[in-house]
Structures are given as C-alpha cells and as structure tokens.
Amino acid sequence: MLRKEFSFLLVLSFVFLMVGCSSTSQSSSGGKDSDGKVTVTLWYWNRSLDDNLLAKAKEQFPNINLVAQKIDGNSYETKVDAALAAGGSGAPDIVGMNGAARYIPHADQFVNLLDLGASDIKNQYLDWKWNYAVTPDNKKLIALPIDIGPTALFYREDIFKKAGLPTDPAEVSAQLTTWEDYIEAGEKVKAATGVKMFDSINRVFTQYLGQSDSVYFDKSEKFIGDGGNVKKAWDIAWKVNEKGLSANLVDGTEWNASMNNGEIASFIGAVWMKKVLEDAAPDTAGKWRIARAPGGDGNHGGSFLGIPKSSKHPKEAYKVISWLMNPKNQLQSYKTMDLFPSTPSVYSDPIMSSKEEFFGNQNTTEIFSQAAKNVKPLYFGANYDTVNSLFSDQLTNVANQNLDSEKAWNDVQKQVEKKLSR
C-alpha cells in the first residue's frame, strides 16, 4: 500500500525531470519549432543591451522566436566560456562580449560575420571599433559592435578657475594638449587650492594607454610592453605620483566620497563615467565640465555581439544582431540606456544632444562624439587582461609604498615574462 504510493511519487518526480530536460533540448533542436518559428537565443548581461529594444526585436522578426537571457554580470564570462567549450546545444545563438580581444585567438569558435554579408554594413560603424573584432589576418569578423566608450577630460570648472586655468572646454583643451601640460596644470591646482588633479595613477596609466595605437602586444601576439607606449604611460603615472598630484583613490565608496567632497579637480574617463559621477557626487552638480582630453582621444570599454559556431541558425541570428545594432536602434539605446553609439551617422541627430544640468548645461555629446571619431586603431592581444592586471597591481604598489622606479618596472616585467611563459 505504502509502497505503491511511494512508487507513484517516484514516477511523478521522474516525469518532472524528463519534462525539465526536454524543454531545454527543444529550443536547441534543429529546424523549426512546432509553431513554425526559428528559436534564436541571446545571452547578455544587465545594461549591456536595451531591454526595450530586445522586446521590439520580437515584433520586428515575427518568424524568429528571440529568447533573450539576461545573465549575472559577475559570472557572465565564465558561463559563456563554459558554453563555448562544451559547444553544441548549451551555447546560445547570439552572445554578448565585453570586449572582443580574448575571443580573437578563438575566432574559429565563432561564425565569420563577413561570410554573412557584414562587409555591406561596415561603413555604418567606426573603423577602429569594427577592427577590434577583426582577426589579425583581416579575414574574419567575430562580432558586431554594440556601444563604445570614448574618453574625455572631466574637470571642475570652479577649481580650475581658482587655479587660474581656463574654464571654457575649448580653451581647456587648447591649453592642456599633452600629458605634460596636464601635469603642469595639476601643480598649479595643488599650489592654489590644495586639491589633487588626479584620482589615481592607475587611471592615468589606463587612460594613457586608451589613447595609444599599440599597447602590450603586436599583431603577431609578441609582447611589446617592455617599452613603447607602456613605458611612456608608466613614466607619466610615476611622475604624477612623485609630484604628489594623485589622491590615490580606489573606485567605490572612497572615490564617491572624495568626488562629492570636491577633493579631485579632474580625471579622464569614458562617456559612461558621466552616470557614475552623477551618482557619486550629487553635491557637485553644475560644477563639472567636459573637454577633449589631454594627450588625445581614447576609448575605454564597449561591447560586442557575436554568433557562436555551434548556432544552428546563424543567418537568423545575424539578421537579429545587424538589426539590433543598426544606427537607428543604437540611437534609441543611447537615449534609454546611455549606450554610446558605435555608428557615427547618428551623432548629429538632435536626439543625441541635450543640455546637461550636472555639467553646467554643457552639451557633452558634442565632445564625446568628436572624440569617438578620433580614436586610434589598436590591437589588444589575447592576454591583454592578464598583463594589464599585473601592471595595474604594481601601480597600486607604487602609489602606496616607497618603491624604486627602476626596480618596480623591472619587477613587473619579470612577472609578465613569467606569466606569459606558462
């Protein structure tokens, strides 16, 4: 009697198990679903795509059943890697990438978008951004651009005024053209007000590299970070530290508090830092301005959409991503989500421009769109993140301990060599 009930429960639980399995396998089975639609899955993380736009895409493509899955940003890359490594049904048809560099050596795991006609829409996008997703041999494109992160100088107009520096964005850019000018101005600010010009030397280093045309690796993946721009960026960061112009802050509550208390006169940041700053420093509203950055225009951040090779519907997936990322929709995403378009044709659209109260009614889009068109092409290399974290850790040490310049540099070079030898 009891046994019968038990076995009934057991059978029931197995049924649930089977149902659970079959529902996932259904979406990946080849051909069409029962309703005649093709299912295309898309993975993205919070704020990487505009949710409204994804909802609209479902209307745009009545024959495609677009399943957009928002995945926790912290475990996003791990999950994507696992899905790609496993191949087959586990991987989505469309995958968001926070930077294409680390996938370039694994271009064979992605559909070459040039085979699907991507070259026809190439001229819509910024060249440098497009090329981030192109293999060194120029034969493959692994993803389409989503947004970009053009950089500019964020500065406190009132503090600049007190220090006798120009306050108008155009004049600021004219006077602070190089990093040397920037440091000199920093000394003036310090002398006149005691305020630090820079928030951290890590940012100085990162932003210098963001303006460069080569960083740690050349196109043959050879390490070139033992000199060149990396050394120049290092020296500038060192100089800022030596002169005591950096407040030595780490991102987070300390950074927020310092910004809000007006202890930092400026920093170079990407367009998405506008929002970060507005949230961090509400008390300084109206005092900030944005100008073209000393040292040149750069980029920091911005993501991509690619199609894994295991996708059974690459054509449909391509249709979806090329629509999602067309200029009109990027414009919309900028308006709703602050995702700065990678399609320069929309920069002149009136929707892009507005007077921003936080920045003293400046139209900052003007600055960022000029910067965006001016970013130099750059090859990151597959090990960019690994090497970059070694340099940035070492700079944290430089900022907080009394290190010898040459020894600190040699140490980090040794660490890189050891890591790359693995």
């Binding site: 046994r3 038990f6 076995s7 057991l10 639980s13 890359e77 791990t78 890697d81 696992a82 790609l84 490594a85 680390r102 996938y103 050596p105 694994h106 795991q109 802050l249 780490v250 987070g252 509550t253 300390e254 508090a257 310092s258 993140d385 690994t386 974290s389 940035s392 850790d393 944290t396 040490n397 907080n400 301990q401 050891k418 890591k419 693995r422």
Partner: protein
C-alpha cells in the same frame, strides 16, 4: 533444475559472511526501492561533486584557457607553482590571517560561553540568539560595512580617531593592517557561532564540580581556567580544526574588501582568492586546478596534525 537451486543456496550460505561482490549487488537489488529513494542525492553528487573533483585533477595536468583545446603539460603546473612567489605569498597571508583571527576569536567565544552558562544570567535565550545572529548575516553585506568602517580617508573609525585627536590610519594601505581588518571580520562573524558550540560543551560539565570549587573558595577566574578549559579540551580541538579549515578557505571577505588584486602589494590575497583569480580572471584553469589540489594538501596536512593532537590528548 533442483540441482542448480541447491547449488545456489549453498553458494549463498558460503558467501554470506564475507560480503562478496555478487551478494552485495543482490542486496542492493533486493532493497532497490530504498536505493532509488536516496539516489537523487548520489546522482547530483556524482555530477556536481565527484566529477568536478576528478576533472580538476585531470585539469591540473593540462594547460587550458577555458576556450580552445587543452594541452597536456604533465607536472609543469605544479613545478611552476613551486616557484610562484605570489602563490607562496598567498599561503603566508592565509596563515597570518588564520593566526590573527583564531586565537582572539576562540578565546572570546569561550569567555562568552562561560558567561552565558552562569546560572545567574537573565535573558539567556536572547543573548544566545544575539551572539549567533552575526553568523547568519550575509558576508558580502558585512564586508561592505567593514569597508566603510575601515575606509582610508572617509572611514568611520578614522572619523572617530580624528574626533578624539588621534591621527587617521590608512587601514587598507598597509600589509599588516589589511590582515587585521580581514581577521576582524572573521572574528566578528564566527565568535558567536563558536560560543554556542562551547556552550553546548559547558552544559555537559556537571554543576557539582563548580559547586565543589565554590566551597573550596575558588573564584570565577580560577574555575574558568581549572575546570572549564580542561574539561572542554575535545570541543576546543574540534573548533580549532573547523576554524582552521574555514580560514584556509577564506575568500569572500578579502575579495569583496579588496577586489581581485588583493590590495596593496597583494597583502590580502588568500590561497582561495589566488586560485579564483587564476581561473576566472586570468583564465588559467589548469593552473587554478593545481593550486586547488595543493590547497587540499595543505588542509589535509593540517587536519592530520590536529587529529594526532586529539589522539594524544585522548590517550592521556
């Protein structure tokens, strides 16, 4: 037919005592319904527990970025590990934090338990809950609060320091102070938990001993050191072991407090954090697996050491 049946029966009788392979399976088959009921755990454990364990062992002999092909490298990951100064630094950090947290924590727990056990105390239930609550709060939330308390420039503690005329301390810019901050989080979180375990132990100590001591004129401190501590020894050793295993696996506190870099000069990088960084930041899954197996070795060695001590004291 008859003949074979009797054959089987005699076979059964013969193998009944030392459980042979055949009869074990037969027993399993006989109780198949019960085994089916407990099978979900074992099936899940096989997939999500046992398989990853062995897969990580397999991985530790390979080089793998998580994408692309695995490359067999033999013992190279382990030899690299031996010469990896950052790894040894993380081992040192872990032990330093363990040392800084364990002693004050367990001592504090013992004192709390002793006070909770005094018959005169009122609202015992409230105190027990209050001390245990720290253990069930979210580590991430706690860490973020500790981060604001120990902030370099705008920390609560530095605010208090300047209020009473002391110089502010850059807690998170010094190798030793970083460890102190991490240890303080561990202490805050686990003291109450250990106190409850000690309390259970204390309640098994007969009251007559304390009464006898009182008649002999012993004070509270004497009773604590001469009755409570000796009789609690096995429980103390148990908590030391659990604390050690826990400390060796310390991860969330330093990671949330300092980020993946582990703070100034990597002073807050623990072994687990280092392993995490190798796998999920640098995408060196093979190397991370090697680190995890060495970590396993260290914990096993420590536990063995502790077990020996328990045995020794048991024999006394």
């Amino acid at each position: 037919m008859n003949a074979t049946n009797t054959q089987e029966v005699t076979n059964n009788v013969q193998y009944m005592k030392p459980v042979g392979k055949g009869s074990l399976w037969r027993k399993v088959y006989k109780n198949r319904a019960l085994y089916l009921f407990i099978s979900p755990f074992y099936i899940l454990f096989l997939i999500f527990g046992l398989f990853p364990i062995f897969f990580s062992l397999y991985l530790s002999f390979h080089k793998w970025s998580g994408l692309g092909k695995m490359e067999f490298v033999g013992l190279k990951q382990f030899t690299y590990l031996l010469t990896d100064t950052t790894f040894w630094q993380s081992v040192g950090n872990t032990f330093a934090i363990w040392f800084l947290s364990t002693i004050p924590m367990l001592f504090g727990a013992l004192v709390i338990a002793f006070l909770l056990n005094t018959p005169l105390l009122k609202f015992k239930g409230f105190y027990r809950t209050a001390f245990f609550v720290t253990n069930v709060t979210s580590i991430v939330a706690v860490t973020i609060i500790f981060k604001s308390i120990f902030g370099n420039h705008f920390g609560l503690l530095n605010y208090v320091f300047t209020m009473i005329g002391l110089n502010p301390v850059e807690w998170l810019n010094s190798g030793i102070l970083i460890k102190v901050v991490i240890a303080s989080m561990v202490i805050w979180r686990w003291t109450g938990y250990n106190a409850i375990i000690y309390l259970a132990g204390l309640q098994s100590i007969p009251n007559t001993l304390y009464e006898a001591a009182k008649i002999d004129g012993a004070n509270l401190v004497q009773m604590f050191f001469h009755i409570t501590i000796p009789l609690l020894r096995p429980i103390i050793l148990f908590t030391v072991l659990m604390t050690t295993i826990g400390s060796m696996q310390l991860f969330t506190e330093p990671q949330v407090l300092l980020g993946n870099s582990g703070g100034v000069g990597g002073a807050g990088v623990t072994i687990t954090m280092y392993m995490y960084k190798q796998a999920f930041v640098d995408n060196q899954y093979g190397y991370a697996s090697a680190v995890s197996w060495v970590l396993f070795g260290i914990i096993a060695l420590f536990s063995l050491l502790n077990w020996k001590i328990v045995q020794k004291t048991g024999a006394k």
